[in-house]
């Protein structure tokens, strides 16, 4: 990771190819995984189907714990896809890191603040949209003045802090993880067999721990996203 990425401008829009490639690969992997798991469905589920149903139950549980009412069915599929996408995106950069020349071509897309902000934005925009759908425009506006009209500025501020904390938490965790992966790699090649062996052990340990971090962060992102959504969707 050299903090230099292949750039590309198209109709005045800037594209960071590293991010786009990561997003695309993550999406394709998620789709292939789910596609493979969902083949040959049976009334009596076998191994693959059990795994898929377990993941579905898991994300449904996340949604349900935030939104107990019947509104939750709207968000089940979204939460499921979001969780798998972030999970896979978090893990990708741990194992694959591609530098060509001075440019980094591939790493975790969630190690970029742009991608995490985009995901947080998607979650929050959806929460506002469904807040209007489920509570009406008046109810949605009333939400800003609750529990006291006095708190209106704080509620408005909260919308931005929600967005910032949701996106930067994920970005910070994954970015830091990748930086450490690279630092340990540099340590490994800093010369000497002892350095190489001990750095390899440290890298393995850190990668294992990062898998854990990536899973936790995917869970936290989806959970908090659903909590913010429930604040908008559920009547006070």
């Amino acid at each position: 990771m050299n903090e230099k990425y292949p750039q590309f401008t198209f109709y005045g829009l800037d594209f960071n190819l590293t991010n786009d490639l990561g997003v695309l690969v993550s999406a394709i992997l998620v789709f292939l995984l789910v596609f493979w798991l969902s083949r040959n469905l049976k009334m009596r589920p076998g191994g693959k189907q059990n795994v898929l149903e377990w993941i579905m139950d898991f994300t449904n549980g996340i949604v349900k714990s935030a939104i107990p009412g019947s509104e939750r069915y709207t968000f089940n599929l979204f939460a499921f896809t979001l969780f798998l996408f972030i999970f896979i995106a978090n893990q990708l950069g741990l194992f694959i890191e591609l530098d060509i020349g001075k440019d980094t071509w591939f790493r975790s897309p969630t190690a970029s603040p742009v991608i995490t902000m985009t995901l947080a934005l998607a979650v929050l925009v959806l929460s506002h949209y469904f807040g209007v759908v489920f509570r009406g425009f008046k109810g949605y506006l009333k939400g800003y003045a609750s529990p006291l009209p006095l708190l209106l500025p704080i509620n408005l501020l909260e919308e931005f802090t929600n967005f910032i904390t949701l996106s930067l938490r994920l970005y910070g965790n994954i970015f830091a993880g990748e930086v450490l992966v690279l630092l340990i790699r540099q340590w490994a090649f800093s010369g000497g067999a002892i350095n190489f062996v001990s750095a390899t052990v440290a890298e393995i340990a850190w990668q294992g721990f990062s898998v854990f971090i990536g899973s936790i962060q995917a869970y936290v992102f989806v959970t908090l996203g659903m909590v913010y959504t429930s604040n908008k969707v559920l009547p006070e």
Binding site: N16, S38, V114, T118
Partner: protein, 162 residues
């Protein structure tokens, strides 16, 4: 900032959600719902079957109890009948024995009476015959009677009883 990335991510993610929903989510969710329905149906059916079986067992038990009572009743009735029959037979035998005894007694009495009468006649005839033999004359019964009466009268006089 790279606005293009944002756009690209959103579009990709949207397509991903739609594809996942179509390919995996819908069929699996449907399968899960079907399974839930089937399980609840099966549970209902099992519950019903259990109830039916219980009812049937109760009925059987009741019938068994009834048949037990019936058997007891039948045995009792048979016992009663036997007792009655025994009593009847005994009574009949007693009666018959009594009748037989009575008849026999009557026969015996008759026979004794007949024998006595016969003996009386025989004695009369015998004594007559003896008297005829002694007196040597034919006595008819009337004469003899007179004779006997006369004899008896004289016997009385001789005793001076008058």
């Amino acid at each position: 900032m790279s606005l293009g990335d944002t756009l690209f991510t959103i579009v990709t993610f949207l397509i991903l959600v739609i594809a996942v929903g179509k390919v995996a989510w819908k069929p699996v969710a449907k399968m899960m719902a079907d399974r839930q329905q089937k399980i609840s149906g099966d549970l209902d059916y099992a519950e019903k079957s259990r109830k039916d079986a219980e009812e049937l067992a109760d009925k059987r038990r009741e019938e068994l109890q009834h048949s037990h009572a019936d058997a007891v009743k039948i045995v009792n009735r048979a016992k009663e009948n036997g007792e009655k029959q025994r009593q009847q037979l005994l009574d009949a035998a007693n009666t018959e024995v009594a009748t037989l005894k009575k008849n026999a007694q009557e026969d015996i009495d008759q026979a004794r009476k007949d024998a006595l009468a016969d003996a009386k006649n025989d004695v009369a005839n015998l004594s007559l015959t003896i008297a005829q033999k002694l007196i040597g004359k034919e006595l008819n019964a009337t004469d003899q009677k007179d004779l006997i009466d006369d004899y008896i009268k004289r016997l009385g006089d001789a005793n001076g009883s008058h």
